[in-house]
Subunit: 192 residues, 2 copies
DNA sequence: CTCTCTTGTCTAGCAGTGCTAGAATCGAGT
DNA sequence: ACTCGATTCTAGCACTGCTAGACAAGAGAG
């Protein structure tokens, strides 16, 4: 019995290693450098073992995305907890979101730009994704404004943050004024 | 002399054909289906011909992106011209933008998600891109609000639209409420 | 009208990708 | 110590973007 348990533990450990290595490699050299061969070499196994853990590269990206969603939710919650007043909380949330996106570009890409084969806004949406949205919702409901559905407001707020994160990182927006953009956004969107 | 001119004309025509075919193929089956072989087959030439017009696949994507930027600028200008009052213009702009993104997903991807090798927000930004931003700026300056730099406001507004377009298309936001999201966004961002 | 020589195009191939069938090896249980 | 099932690897497929070098077409000279 304990032999099987040990094997299972080792398997789980190796799975974590794969995800962590993929993430690390992507963060260092970009996702285009994350090939099955390179990944296999880094974890010191042959390529086929990757496929005994994941259906394919998509699923590995998806695993990184889920990890990122959980981290981001935690980061957002930590930032908002330290803020006082609903408006401050919205500002802290926005900054935390953009901060995470900026400091983990590969993970952010896994979540939103690449195809990780994850379902969204549907029944079978993975828990970490739902929870990340919930983390936004918690702090934004208070500033949605009267008569505005909090979920809808959160979606709009999130989309705006996502747009800023994406365009800034892609070099579409000059990074210099990033702070003032967030301020303006929060100032306009968040109602008393 | 006229022989060279004819050849140049034919070359230019074929270049347009390549871009149009790439766009068509991407719109029909997604960009992952746009391979150099398939593209070459569709234009009834061999692959190397593509490389006598473009440096590589990136540049072809870039050409589609530029085309899209010009079209989008035109669409936005047409929509805002028909609107009365600054606020209405902002709303019309937002709807036109999202409408274009929704109806030309592959072109939108070429502009923002894929690497077309285009420079942004820099000295050597291609003219169509600058002009597309200018088209937004023209109609949004009036609703930026007192003391707010119009360029900065346009960037924020644009980012929000981009976020909505991207997340909606990626299935991250339920498409049903799309209209209400735009209304909310414009309502909050655009100041009298 | 023929020949040459540039220009343009194609065939064939490289190195890389994600993924997999079947051989080889390891190690747990008898 | 040995067997036999589970695990891992080697080798290979079909595809990708891209390119060197063979080939053909057609303009200009005689």
């Amino acid at each position: 019995m304990s032999v099987q348990e040990r094997k299972q533990r080792e398997r789980a450990g190796r799975e974590r290693l794969i995800v962590a290595t993929a993430r690390e490699l992507a963060e260092q050299q970009g996702w285009e450098a994350v090939t099955t061969r390179r990944l296999a070499e880094r974890i010191e196994y042959s390529q086929p073992v990757l496929y005994s853990h994941f259906r394919g590269k998509r699923e590995i990206i998806g695993a990184v995305a889920l990890q990122g969603a959980a981290e981001m939710a935690a980061a957002v919650r930590a930032a908002t907890a330290a803020a006082t007043g609903p408006r401050d909380r919205a500002g802290a949330l926005a900054r935390a979101y953009l901060h995470y996106a900026e400091n983990n570009p590969a993970v952010y890409d896994a979540m939103f730009h690449l195809d990780g084969g994850l379902a969204f806004a549907e029944e079978d949406t993975p828990e970490p994704l739902k929870d990340a949205f919930a983390a936004l919702l918690e702090s934004l409901t208070a500033v949605a404004g009267a008569g505005v559905h909090p979920g809808l407001f959160t979606e709009v707020f999130w989309a705006a943050l996502h747009g800023l994160a994406t365009l800034t990182r892609a070099g579409r927006l000059p990074p210099a004024e990033a702070g003032r953009r967030v301020d303006l956004l929060v100032d306009r969107l968040a109602v008393v």
